[in-house]
């Protein structure tokens, strides 16, 4: 559907993304002011989930690789931020940036075999990593304090701002800034190259692109986003321990990406919402039934597993893909009501089929 010119967003990417970010940020700001402190903590949780899912989404949706262990990169970020904050007294931005950098470096290293490999191999490697990262803190327990984990002092809010709201501001700000950077990255020459490699590697390399280098770089960027999420997580949870980074976290991130729609940064927010509110919702629902403790404890995982399967089989482009096709259906209806003259050109502007994991 075509909006009037003054309602359309500018086409210059940075301007467009900044405008969207400011608008989204304002909405989030108003929400944080009007909801309870408990809800603010949940908003903060949505923030770090969203940027972690966005990183995974860039890897899977745009580059056609998959990571089953993105929680491991979050762990790298969380531990490096936690250690920085434990040993040095620095402004908050420094440990968070260190988290991003450390995760990017580790991501690049893990991504190295990805230069020659595709899909399933990489999935297995990252799965192995998801387990390894849980055991490392025990091996080097003098540094990482083993199962106990590292305590992170919550950031002190300025003036009369409640701590929960301040936390929500920090994580949401971090997530939105990360998103703007990712969005620009995807719109750049680099992002186009990635899509070219995903769609046809041989044609892309014939056109002078270096698929191997692009893959490693994407892995690093994706891990950096997860590292940012890890840094924010450390602030949010107040403790960084191996328990937080189980295989289930990585699977949750994957579920969030599938639910929101892979390859879409806005979809990452839908996914984050789902990850925060679905467990709460299942808990409420199962509370109404007379279920045994075992069933209740496993309900949340079962729902995530079922959602992943059903969405991949019926609507692999997730919520964002569904919204997109809804939008174009409205557009078609609007055109049809204007008369037949537009219909002749309709097939040219129709959106591509959503029958792919990557839109």
């Amino acid at each position: 559907m075509k909006l009037p010119r003054w309602l359309r967003l500018p086409t210059q990417p940075l301007l467009r993304h900044l405008l969207l970010a400011v608008a989204g940020g304002l909405v989030l700001y108003v929400i944080t002011l009007s909801v309870s402190q408990y809800d603010n903590l949940e908003l903060a949780e949505i923030g770090w989930y969203a940027i972690a899912i966005a990183g995974l989404s860039v890897l899977t949706g745009v580059n056609g690789q998959i990571s089953l262990g993105h929680g491991a990169f979050m762990a790298v970020g969380a531990y490096s931020a936690g250690l920085m904050m434990e040993h040095f007294d620095l402004p908050l931005i420094v440990p968070v940036l260190v988290a991003v950098g450390a995760a990017a470096v580790i991501g690049g290293l893990v991504g190295l075999p990805a230069t020659r490999l595709k899909g399933p191999y990489l999935a297995g490697v990252t799965l192995a990593l998801a387990f390894a990262v849980q055991d490392l803190p025990n091996k080097f327990s003098s540094l990482f304090n083993g199962d106990q984990g590292i305590i992170v002092n919550p950031p002190t809010p300025p003036g009369t701002v409640p701590a929960e709201r301040w936390l929500a501001w920090i994580t949401l700000f971090g997530a939105v800034v990360g998103m703007v950077i990712l969005a620009n990255f995807l719109r750049s020459r680099f992002g186009r190259s990635l899509r070219a490699v995903r769609d046809d590697e041989i044609a892309a390399s014939a056109a002078g692109l270096n698929p191997a280098r692009l893959r490693v770089l994407t892995f690093a960027v994706s891990a950096a986003a997860a590292g940012l999420a890890g840094g924010l997580f450390a602030l949010w949870s107040g403790i960084v321990s191996p328990d937080s980074f189980s295989l289930f976290l990585s699977i949750q991130l994957l579920a969030g990406m599938v639910i929101g729609g892979s390859g879409s940064l806005i979809g990452a927010w839908w996914g984050a919402l789902a990850l925060v509110y679905i467990p709460e919702w299942t808990q409420n629902v199962s509370g109404h039934f007379n279920l045994s403790a075992g069933v209740k404890a496993n309900m949340q995982n079962a729902v995530f597993g079922l959602l992943i399967i059903v969405i991949m089989m019926l609507a692999p482009s997730g919520i964002q893909g569904w919204l997109r096709s809804l939008w174009s259906a409205i557009g078609r209806l609007a055109r049809r009501s204007k008369g037949d003259s537009d219909q002749a050109v309709a097939p040219l502007t129709s959106t591509p089929s959503p029958e792919r994991i990557s839109p």
Binding site: L117, Q134, I251, I357, S358
Partner: protein, 292 residues
Amino acid sequence: MGRFVDLTLNGFTYGVIYAAVALGLVLIWRATRIVNFAQGALATLTTYIAVSLLDRSVNYWLAFAGALFAGLVIGALTERVFIRPLYGKPDLNPIVVSIGLLILVESIAGAIWGSGDRGFEPAFSQIGISVGKTHLEFSHFDVFVLASVLVLMVGILVLFRWTNLGLRMRASAFAPEVARLLGVRVGRILTTGWALATFAGALAGLLVAPKVLLSPNMMDPILVYGFAAAVLGGLDSPLGALVGGIVTGLGISYVGGYMGSSMETVGAAVLLIVVLSIRPEGIFSRPSARRV
């Protein structure tokens, strides 16, 4: 020196169990070019089925056979219900679905049988055998483990080499379209492949459960080691799965024994990254040309 021998024997036993898992992954990979990350979870499910049968005081070997049979049925059902709709879709979709299946099956197992650990009675004594004066970390049960995986491997080999079904399976994997034109019911063959693979996984579950405690996520690390074994062997070769399994088992055992058990998963991850960086096609597979 005694410790080295024990670690070697231990690694060897675990290695053949990893080989059984790897064989399952290889069978599915050959048939459908999918890595089934739910393989471990399905094996946990069949092991719980054996436990349920044993709790109802069914004969041990009947329960054992029941779990293996359940593996065949569950594998076939999984292919029919969850995997068949995904053929021809992007490669990543079945991976994601198999991960969904992993968490779904594990949580169902947790809901039915509880999330805690429980023991699983071994078929034979797990007390180490003494040879002369030296006591070895190698029990009658370990002999049984080696023998049953050997039987499984030989069975699969005979099936592929010398039976009509095996010929059809190889044909369907090699050239599905041509096989279909020649009258092979390719769909049915793929279902059989998944059934056999889950059978192999079920055996691995039954063999490993007495060694580690049975819990819904018992097979998670075993799956990772099995995957490492399959990759080492080239993902394409049943013999490679056996050799890869033993190499992985020995490697993990030495790493765990000399560097601490918390390094086992780290060792597997490093092994995978190194193997895939140096020789991504594995030891037993030939590098394949990419089609333009």
